[in-house]
Symmetry: D2
């Protein structure tokens, strides 16, 4: 694996690195960790990379690695830069035959996303978008249960992603994470909506297997001086007639990353919360069951994404690592000329494109006086 | 106290009776417990009432009681019938000088509600609408904290009231509670919205001190054959610029009465759940505090609505009883020619009227293609 | 009902009154509320009792009430005084034909308890000791489940009653509740052990149906200057071979009344916590179920001790009231010459006697160098 | 790092590997993964090791690696075998100049443990015993708070480690994990006590900084046919006068790995549960605070053991990885001739020796009729 972005003071780069290497299937062999070559070198050194595999820019990395013999050169590129630097390295990597793992959102805008989706299609290379929350075993279990009819036809979906860390104008206080996320030139047309709202959208569609068809959005910038939305309340309608709510916020004072979803069907309900990720509650009017990672008869999908027996909390890194490990499994299957088991899934470029269209649709709805805006 | 409604097989009548008498301030002295005189008599007997104080209809009760000497006759009427039998006994009672406690919603429609609000105003009699959830000590504490600026200016309010008991067409199975609640002639133009959505609306406005000014509603009848809404998703805008969401449901399979509210202000957040009513969480980005009934320095409002030291769970009956006890205190203050302490508050006819207008506005919004419908 | 003790500033008196009258089965008709006649009168007045039914001492009350005609006079006495004033009024009441409800512990020492147990036996009168926690519906359900074999033969029982309110020497600061509870002349030979440890012992034996046969105790007085134990750690052995732990504390800083019990059998486990009393967790190695008051198929015992549908929290007062209501039902059955349904149970004088012997045994064990001290 | 034990079907080997490599500080370079050379080879291959670095037995590994040049050869040995194969490879490794990480318990008996502690002392090499639960950030925070006086002098400690997986005789059903843990020849003289009770003992002493001085134990074998204890209830006394309880169980049906600790001091209490590891509750009689990983002003000790911002659950692997990373940091400091920062701590051979003595003391107490048995 070669990495683009993720210098020592970045947040998500370290997550990707740990997630990638944790299962012993992937090795970091090269990288360009910053647009500042000095910083890139410093990071490469801290990561014990040989100097000649730490590059000054992604173009150099992709082209030079391509010249190395197979087996020695990187097998894929992991892109962990801010949003505005997703598209270019992704395209160059794909065009030069490298598979890609890319942080979300896939690009800065829908046009770029369409290009990439098309390019992935055309090259037939692997592409993984790290909607990491889909990697949790209990998310897999929930998806499996709904597909198996455990709660009947879905009627109502409530998905939320509240955070509180942007309750004040921290982007002007030197907080690097806040600065690029609230800057339209680096983050895109959406703020919190793109950063976390798309996770919520992706999670809801992933678990339920449904598609949002219409929505009605109310976005807000609560913090004076901020340039992008920091709060969103959205009504949803799904393709099977289900209704729902999506809300995300970065001004929900005191909330950490309380991504959570509640799904109610004709015969039961499911509740999952990222802050207690090893628990899935299955509710019915006759009583509730606590489903736990590693306990009882779980779906194959839940089992293969769990590393250890019940009662040893697996968290954010392990869910994230499930994406990388599945990517590695699919890559290996390809090398071995086998068909990969679909249980080892990960979000695709099409999911990324859908996320970009979701952002477009929400922004359009927010500006509209009409109640409903069609999605897709 | 004389009671209208509340035969032995009713649900809310028993709640009112226990709530009324629990604190030793109120005595049940007469009643008409059913439109069926036999059933009324049977209930009266089970409640140890003398036969001559069990009446055949509310007109008889009000007029005969009026003839009894003060001190012997009932001091006020408690009305616990289905919605369509709220207005008539309320009006007759007020017109004959009796104070009134009435279950919510105040009436079947806004016109009746306006009449009653006007009548209360004109007679100067006491009127209490039992939005019972406002009686919880931690609700009082939350209201006090917001009024005192503990979380800064409110930005976001999420209030929910999910239930699951109407996930199937139980109204045709002999479930009396379901039958009248889903029958437009007895329940009014709204189903779940009127039954529980108004509780959510009242709670949000009560705690925050804000008024909803605009809303955007999506109501649904999920259960085939049902005549009234069993699910509502509503976007809210408040008079101070805050945004919000109100959702209620009676098809949220597996939910009991999970009324809950989350309020985020500029400097903190508050979370309260009816199913864990003695706990209020005060969140900030620096950490959270667990506020508990009876623990530490609470507001006077929380204290006077708590009966016992911390750690003895007070529940639904006690919250309900707080309304009755406050009503009794205000009545006594009036008799004693004193000004009642405003800490002993309870919902008014104006609150009831506002609830009816809320229903009207939501129904109008639901039918509208426009995003926002003004409230008030 | 006539009451002994429970002046306005007492804690448990108000609980008993509310618990007694809440269900409309019992009326307070007379009382002696304090050893101070002035205070007794003042309380009687606040409770709207006629002056001639407020007495100066319990002897006067019992003897004068006895002279009143049946139907007018009190039917039973409720004794809510500190421990050292339990035995005398209980005996006098029983000797004069009055049934008795008495707060726990039954007496100041085992000798008195034996006398009372014998007297109850001899007179055939009803006697209820208010081990109120046994009144919770989920406690009834747990007892029923174990009796029905739902978790197999019981192997391990952990019962705890931690409080924190005596973490400092509050008994010298004017705290009346603390003062008598820590005074050997009013509380007896045990402090926290008698006050709350006996609740834990009673709960464990009540739910499991087992008897403790041996124990090993380590009592402590942590707060300097205190005269009675404020902490107890006790190993238990039961008559079926089960093992266990009982711990109670009044110096567990920050704990309210966190009475809780965990019971593990051959095929499952049960967990109940008084602070979340409407929930019972049924655990097995294949997964856990959340059992909730009013949800699904519960035992008759749970159902008849629940007043309202699921999701309306019933708390401490309602559990307490279940004892009084059952007492009233048994009294009425007796009057009607019927056999009372055993589902309407309440703790007996024998339970009270067992509690006193438990205290004796623990105190003996605490002083002993031997590991095990036999109980009974 | 070279590994002894941890074939593909082992449980703890995979944990150690992930924990070791996750932070990019440690690389697996060689190993002997099974006493069966075929199985060892197979595992080595699956882990992408070169064939010549997969050995047939630990003697071969240690001696051959020693011949490799520094920088190429393994820097330390990680021992993840069943208990009876801890001492021999540890001793050989230390004698040949290799640092050691060893799973707990350190050895099969105290004599071996003393030898190793002495050897570590003599060689001056690094030794880490993986009492992994001490690696959680909130455990570090709790330790820091107590050391800083945040809850005053400690009075009461309750530490528990209940599991349910051995509620039946699974050791005869082909469960390899159960088989060696319940076999005295491979596990030692203690069953659950050694497997999980020592974790509880270590955690209690680590967090409080206190030493257990006396104990009173009741061990049980509940499952017929089992050879070692599957349940333990133990009273504790600490060197500062604090009292406590330690209980562990493997027959607590339905429990996963619910290691938890409650500590009450003169001015406050702390509660931590391994199943919700990112939360620490700080209780006082004036209210409780929720302390969360990554939120607010935490100790340096908590901060340096946390990888990502609040709200991304870090779990078992990350806590385990903290031990390996600290070991790597101390190793590097040594190489660089620096003094390692004591904040990067890990359990020592002395901790392992203390654990063995704890086992001896509990077993002696269990057999004794005397209440108290001295520890140390």
């Amino acid at each position: 694996m070669g990495m683009v972005g993720g210098s020592l003071d970045a947040f998500i780069g370290g997550v990707h690195r740990r997630a990638a290497i944790m299962d012993g299937e992937i090795e970091l062999v090269c990288g360009v960790f910053s647009s500042n070559p000095e910083k890139s070198k410093e990071t490469g050194k801290a990561l014990y990379l040989p100097e000649n595999r730490v590059y000054d820019n992604f173009e150099e990395m992709i082209l030079k690695e391509k010249e190395l013999p197979l087996g020695e050169r990187m097998d894929f590129v992991s892109i962990v830069t801010p949003n505005h630097v997703h598209a270019a390295p992704t395209k160059l990597a794909l065009e030069n035959g490298f598979h890609v793992v890319c942080d979300k959102p896939i690009t800065l805008n829908t046009e770029e996303a369409e290009e990439i989706a098309e390019l992935v299609d055309r090259t037939g290379l692997l592409f993984c978008l790290t909607h990491n929350y889909t990697g949790y075993p209990m998310v897999k279990e929930a998806k499996h249960m709904i597909a198996s009819g455990a709660i009947g036809k879905v009627r109502k979906v409530i998905v939320e992603y509240p955070q509180g860390w942007l309750a004040t104008l921290v982007e002007v206080t030197g907080n690097k994470q806040a600065a690029w996320r609230t800057d339209p030139s680096r983050s895109g047309a959406a703020g919190g909506l793109g950063d976390i709202g798309t996770h919520a959208e992706n999670l809801a569609e992933y678990i339920t297997g449904l598609k949002i068809t219409q929505l009605c959005a109310d976005l807000t910038i609560f913090v004076e001086g901020r340039l992008l939305d920091d709060d969103a309340n959205i009504l949803l309608r799904f393709d099977n007639g289900a209704k729902g709510i999506l809300q995300n916020s970065q001004i929900a004072n005191g909330e950490e990353n309380d991504l959570n979803i509640r799904i109610y069907g004709e015969t039961g309900g499911l509740v999952w919360k990222q802050l207690d990720p090893n628990t899935l509650i299955h509710k019915t009017n006759q009583g509730a069951r606590i489903i736990r990672t590693g306990v009882g008869n779980l779906s194959q999908a839940a089992q293969v994404h769990t590393r250890i027996p019940a009662g040893h909390p697996e968290g954010y890194f392990e869910a994230f690592a499930n994406l990388y490990r599945n990517f590695a499994f699919q890559l290996r299957a390809r090398w071995e000329g086998k068909k990969a088991d679909p249980v080892y899934d990960f979000p695709s470029a099409q999911d990324g494109l859908r996320g970009m269209k979701f952002i477009d649709t929400v922004l359009a709805s927010d500006k509209s006086d009409q109640k409903w805006t069609d999605f897709e």
